[in-house]
Symmetry: C2
Subunit: 201 residues, 2 copies
C-alpha cells in the first residue's frame, strides 16, 4: 500500500480508474492526468456518459443483452432466425460474433459463467430466462458459445443438460476458438470457422 | 470504422474511454461493460470523481504540480531543500522520484516537453515560471529530470541555456534511467542511481 502522492481529488479519481478491469496504479495515474488535461466540458460530458450508460441502459426482455429499449436491436429484427439461440456469457461476445457477419439467429446473454470458486451459481446467471424462452416451443437449436475454458465448458454442459428434455438441438462452438482463450478477443475468421463447425452436445 | 454495436449510451461511454491514453476499442468495451455491472451509486461517485479531479485541482503557484491548495504539499514542506529544484515534464514524474525516497529538494513541473513537430514551444510549458523562480535568487541547483529521449534532452538543453546566466548549478539526471524510456516507469533503484550520479550540464 502506497501513501497518497497527489491531491485528494486526484487520488480519488485514480482509485476509481483502478477498479476498471486490468488497470493498475500507474495506468490509473496516466488516465487521471489525462482527464486533468482535458477541457472541462469534455470531462463533464465523460461523467454524464458514465451515468448515462448505467441509467439509460437495461437488459433486453428476451436475450438479456444491454439495450436502451425493452427489446434489443437483434431481438427486434424480424429478418433474423428466432428459432436459433446462441448462448454467450457476456455482451461483448455478442459484438464479437456479430463482427463475423455469419450468424443470423438470436442470442442469449448469461452475464457470467458458473463458478463454484467465485460462488456464482445458476441463479446468478440468466439460465432461468433461457429455459423459459426454450419452453415456449419455437426454438429449434441452442448453440452454446461460452468461452472455451473450464468454467465456460462447465456452464455449456450444465445448460445442455437442462435443455436436452425439450428435444431440441443443443450444439457447441467448434474448437476453432483457441482453447483457454477468451471469445471476446477471437478474430472474425476464427469465429466464422467455429460457427460453421459447431457440433452436437 | 465499425458500425455501432451497442445501445447509444453504451457507445457514447465506449467512445470516451477510447480517448484515454493507450485504450483501444476492445479495452474501452470492457471498461464500459464493467461500469454497467457496477452499483449505480458507485458509478455516480466515479462520475463525481471525474468532475471533482478536474474542477477541484489547480496548479501549485510555485512548482506548477497539480494540487487542491494554493501551494502543493511538497512546496509547503519547510523540511525540504528549497534551493534545489528538480525539473520534470509531468506530475507522474514527481510521484516516481518521490517513490525513490532519496530526493529532498523541490520540483518544477513543465507539463510537457518542447516538440516542434507537435507545435509545442517554450510558451506552452511552464518555463517562464521556472526562470522567475530561479530569478528570485535563492536557488543553488536545478536538476533537469526530463525523460531521457530526444524531446526530453532537447528540453533539458534549452532550459539549461536559459538558466546558465544566473550562475547556478544546472545538472542532468545520470543515464541510470534507460535511454529512450519513460521516467514514469523507472524503478526506484534506477531513479536513485540516476539522482546520485547527476552531472553538470
Amino acid at each position: 500500500m502506497q501513501t497518497p502522492q497527489f491531491a485528494a481529488p486526484v487520488e480519488q479519481l485514480i482509485e476509481y480508474f483502478q477498479r476498471l478491469p486490468g488497470v493498475g496504479r500507474k495506468t490509473a495515474q496516466r488516465f487521471a492526468f489525462h482527464v486533468m488535461s482535458m477541457e472541462e466540458a469534455d470531462v463533464t460530458a465523460f461523467a454524464e456518459a458514465l451515468v448515462g450508460a448505467k441509467k439509460g441502459v437495461n437488459r433486453c426482455q428476451q436475450c438479456q443483452n444491454f439495450t436502451d429499449s425493452p427489446l434489443c436491436r437483434i431481438c427486434n429484427d424480424h429478418g433474423r432466425d428466432h428459432t436459433t439461440i446462441c448462448v454467450v456469457s457476456e455482451p461483448a461476445d455478442v459484438a464479437a460474433i456479430e463482427r463475423a457477419r455469419e450468424y443470423k439467429g438470436v442470442y442469449h446473454v448469461l452475464h457470467g459463467v458458473l463458478s463454484p470458486l467465485a460462488h456464482i451459481g445458476p441463479e446468478d446467471l440468466t439460465i432461468r430466462e433461457l429455459v423459459m424462452r426454450v419452453g415456449k416451443g419455437d426454438v429449434k437449436e441452442v448453440i452454446m458459445a461460452t468461452d472455451p475454458d473450464t468454467t465456460g465448458e462447465t456452464t455449456a454442459m450444465y445448460i445442455a443438460g437442462l435443455l436436452k428434455p425439450f428435444g431440441i438441438r443443443v450444439t457447441r462452438l467448434a474448437y476453432g476458438v483457441p482453447v483457454g482463450g477468451h471469445l471476446e478477443f477471437a478474430d472474425e475468421v476464427t469465429l466464422l470457422r467455429a460457427i460453421e463447425g459447431r457440433r452436437e452436445l
